[in-house]
């Protein structure tokens, strides 16, 4: 995970990249990522990969042991209307999470997946 992205996530991951306003979370969803297992994680940056492989789940307990999960946050800026999607790929381990990758999509790459 890049240092800049990590810092951004820790500090202002919900700030609009256009007008720097605080964005609203308009949608949240947890997904299982059955193609990624512990010990065999391969970094993926292509939104098409996530569109193809994410399986929506209600809660973390539904994700089998050793399978990666993905948290999706959809943001919308109340000032300029800019939208962004943050994907957090993590490994659920008992009551903790090992974050593997943070992805930001700000050009509507995930829109057809979210609003289908």
């Amino acid at each position: 995970m890049g240092l800049f992205r990590k810092m951004r996530s820790m500090l202002h991951d919900d700030w609009c990249s256009k007008c720097q306003s605080e964005m609203d979370v308009v949608h949240k969803q947890l997904y299982a990522l059955p193609t990624q297992r512990v010990g065999q994680y391969r970094q993926q940056d292509d939104p098409a990969y996530y569109k193809k492989n994410l399986v929506p789940v209600e809660k973390k307990a539904q994700i089998p042991t050793g399978m990666y999960a993905c948290g999706m946050h959809v943001y919308r800026c109340p000032q300029c209307g800019h939208r962004a999607v943050k994907l957090t790929v993590f490994l659920p381990v008992r009551d903790q999470e090992k974050t593997e990758q943070l992805l930001y999509f700000e050009d509507g790459e995930m829109d057809d997946f979210i609003w289908r």
Partner: protein, 194 residues
């Protein structure tokens, strides 16, 4: 199928340690008595023999173990064993067939033997996260999964380190997750075992 599990072949263990030592000693003796005045023979005896011993300790055991693992995999494939989950730990390899409810085991210190058993012989399987210490010192240097077969405890490490890591470190969490997966798989195999 019903033979008792032997994790360590003590004859092999002693040979592993002492045969190279004997080779080194033999080299020194030969060098001393036959090449007392030096020369190529002395170099071979005083350096070549110890080199062979060091190579054995460094690579020989591992090569032998890997060869046996490959042999086991070939045998499993011939028997129609579905390798649903394989875990290569330090010192042992566990292969599980969830369809038949069987598991196969091979140990580093017993590389001439392997075991293919019905998983119903597993009495218990659990995870040891190795957590020790209190407060901010709480951490671990080893995570493993363990299981009991016929009273023999088998420990397979999923993470080891020469330093202690915090319990929320990526290494420890990955080790715990791998161990949890293996315990789940062993329990599933046990349930499906005839």
């Amino acid at each position: 199928m019903d033979k008792k599990i032997q994790k360590i072949n003590y004859i092999y263990l002693l040979c592993y340690i002492f045969v190279p030592l004997m080779v080194v000693s033999a080299g020194f003796l030969l060098g001393y008595y036959l090449f007392h005045d030096g020369g190529v023979g002395a170099v071979v005896c005083f350096m070549g023999f110890p080199l062979v011993a060091i190579l054995w300790w460094s690579f020989g055991g591992k090569l032998l173990y890997k060869q046996h693992c490959k042999k086991l995999i070939r045998e499993l494939d011939e028997r129609g064993f579905s390798r649903n989950q394989t875990f290569d730990g330090r010192g042992s390899t566990v292969v599980v067939d969830l369809n038949r409810g069987e598991l196969a085991l091979v140990f580093f210190w017993n590389p001439f033997d392997h075991y293919i058993l019905p998983a119903k012989r597993i009495e218990r399987a659990w995870v040891d996260d190795g957590a020790a210490g209190a407060g901010f010192l709480r951490g671990s240097s080893r995570v493993s999964f363990l299981f009991l077969i016929d009273g023999v405890k088998i420990r397979v490490d999923t993470f080891t380190s020469n330093k202690r890591w915090r319990m929320d470190s990526d290494y420890i969490l990955t080790g715990i997750s791998k161990a949890d997966v293996m315990v789940d798989v062993l329990n599933q195999a046990k349930e499906r075992s005839a």
